[in-house]
């Protein structure tokens, strides 16, 4: 190996030699974060909509979600391990998945709640006045008109989770965090840097993809 080679050169070389493995870890990372987000949306969006009809509960739920966000990620993953040991899933995918679902709740619930709460009362009134049922009003009027705000919450959650997902490697859930955790224990700097770069690229691409998806989902008449 050439001693005068730059760090950048050595990182590039690492990527070239370990391409297959890096791609495999990226896919693991995407599956972990992606499945956690799907479940987080399925919980957070309906919950956010429901909370607009129950202000007292809204305060409590948003506070709890806020508290979860303040727990350091390494601690939350740590808590998951003993809890899931009870059902023999102490390490690996399951505890990491659950931790990520919890972390996603605040941005998703809060944005959905705020968005639906701020729907122009005149438009809500008109929807009731033309004889829509509650379900029709939510799906035909309230959600379509608030897609940009709800999607902004999802984007925040995704980017957040891609970063936090790194810690998942420490409890054996794999993903790009593996490069960083192994790199640190082996004192292998190029490996750590490669991991960091791969995560950044994944985060930026995910955000771009979601922006595109947001545009696609937003009805034309909604600015």
């Amino acid at each position: 190996m050439n001693d005068h080679q730059s760090t950048f050169g050595r990182v590039m070389e690492y990527f070239q030699n370990n391409m297959d493995w890096v791609i495999e870890l990226t896919i693991e990372h995407i599956i972990l974060v992606g499945s956690a987000i799907m479940v987080a949306i399925l919980i957070g969006v309906p919950l956010g909509i429901y909370l607009t009809t129950n202000k007292k509960l809204a305060g409590t739920v948003l506070n709890i979600a806020g508290v979860i966000m303040t727990i350091p990620s390494i601690a939350l993953f740590g808590i998951m391990v003993p809890i899931f040991s009870i059902i023999n899933y102490g390490i690996g995918f399951v505890p990491a998945f659950v931790a990520l679902v919890l972390y996603s709740q605040l941005p998703i619930i809060r944005n959905t709640y705020t968005a639906i709460h701020n729907v122009d009362p005149q438009i809500r009134d008109a929807a009731k006045g033309v004889g829509m049922s509650t379900i029709q009003r939510i799906f035909k009027v309230e959600i379509p008109n608030t897609i940009p705000v709800i999607m902004a919450g999802v984007r925040t959650a995704v980017v957040l989770n891609i970063g936090i997902g790194v810690i998942a490697a420490f409890i054996g859930a794999g993903g790009l965090g593996t490069l960083i955790s192994q790199g640190i224990t082996r004192g292998y700097h190029e490996m750590v840097i490669s991991g960091a770069i791969a995560i950044s690229i994944l985060g930026i691409s995910a955000d771009l993809f979601l922006r595109f998806l947001q545009k696609l989902l937003t009805p034309k008449g909604v600015s």
Binding site: D120, Q122, A126, G131, Q136, K140, V141, P219, G221, S223
Partner: protein
């Protein structure tokens, strides 16, 4: 068709928004709920389609208590127009206009036909607007769409909450005229909220004037103007109530009770006006004419007589001395 029986609405424990109101809207009639803001007129309107609950009393729609009817079905039978037009930003103009037929599950052809019919009713090109969105339209166009959306499923009754309130005066006047000519054909039963006495006089077959949740007077525009039931009413209609009432009286009303003059003292030519000119316009012509008179012509443009200040004066005096109107304490 819409009958309020001692309707009361209390918010919280002690804020009475509507106090024991009874009134009757007959089929094909426009009743304007008029009054200053906070007088309960909008609450009164929104109780008909269940957007506000009724604390006490009852409202009958076609003889049935609205509290016994299914709220959703009732709303689909009553057109609803609001001030900010309430169009759904995420839907195209076509989807907005046909939303009630859509909820009623009409088939596509029927919806399409109805859409085209309604657009021509307000003079908008159906094809041009079909795929456009509300924010691309001007305020006046949006409000026209708001009105035809309410008409889409051909409901027997309409509730209109200051429907033209957000428009500038010129557009407002034009849309009011348009709407009145549509109404002459459709004969809907309409409850119309307004805070503008001029609009109320122009649009209403009857006016219900409200104050602090109570009905002050429920009567025809001309009776409200000529015979205000109390100080509040006369104050609300203003010192110029006689001038205002000239707008709703036409030459053809006047000739029923008063004979036009056969000739004028001088032989000078005067301005001609037809039988369906309002007395307000006639007064304007009289004031600017040296002869202080206007020639009234029939449909064949033949002069049937002359109208001057004295005759208008005699007519207006005869109106205010008519029998007492129905008074509400």
């Amino acid at each position: 068709m819409i009958q309020y029986n001692n309707v009361t609405k209390v918010y919280g424990d002690d804020i009475t928004a509507v106090d024991q109101v009874s009134l009757n809207v007959n089929e094909g009639e426009i009743v304007v709920l008029l009054g200053p803001s906070g007088c309960g007129k909008t609450t009164l309107l929104r109780m008909v389609n269940g957007l506000e609950t009724i604390t006490d009393g009852d409202i009958l729609f076609n003889g049935e208590s609205i509290q016994s009817l299914n709220e959703i079905e009732l709303r689909r039978k009553i057109g609803y127009v609001i001030q900010s037009n309430g169009l759904f930003p995420n839907m195209t103009i076509e989807q907005n206009v046909t939303i009630v037929p859509h909820l009623l599950k009409w088939d596509q052809n029927k919806k399409n036909e109805r859409y085209e019919e309604l657009m021509s009713l307000v003079g908008l090109d159906a094809e041009d607007y079909r795929k456009r969105y509300p924010h691309e339209l001007s305020g006046g166009q949006q409000q026209r769409i708001g009105v035809i959306r309410a008409l889409a499923a051909d409901p027997p009754a309409m509730l209109m909450d200051e429907p033209f309130g957000a428009l500038d005066p010129i557009i407002r006047e034009r849309i009011q005229d348009e709407f009145l000519s549509i109404q002459r054909e459709l004969n809907k039963t309409i409850l119309f909220v307004s805070h503008d006495i001029n609009e109320a006089i122009k649009m209403g077959d009857k006016i219900a004037l409200m104050k602090n949740g109570q009905l002050m007077q429920f009567d025809t525009p001309s009776n409200i103007l000529q015979n205000p039931a109390n100080d509040f009413v006369s104050q609300f209609v203003g010192q110029d109530r006689t001038i205002k009432s000239l707008t709703i009286h036409f030459v053809y009303d006047l000739v029923k009770t008063i004979e036009l003059k056969d000739s004028l003292s001088s032989s000078a030519t005067v301005k001609k006006a037809s039988l369906d000119t309002s007395l307000r316009d006639i007064l304007g012509f009289v004031l600017e004419s040296e002869e202080q008179a206007v020639a009234i012509v029939n449909e064949e443009q033949e002069i049937i007589g002359y109208l001057d200040f004295e005759l208008i004066n005699r007519y207006m005096v005869s109106l205010s001395s008519e029998d007492d109107p129905v008074r509400v304490p």
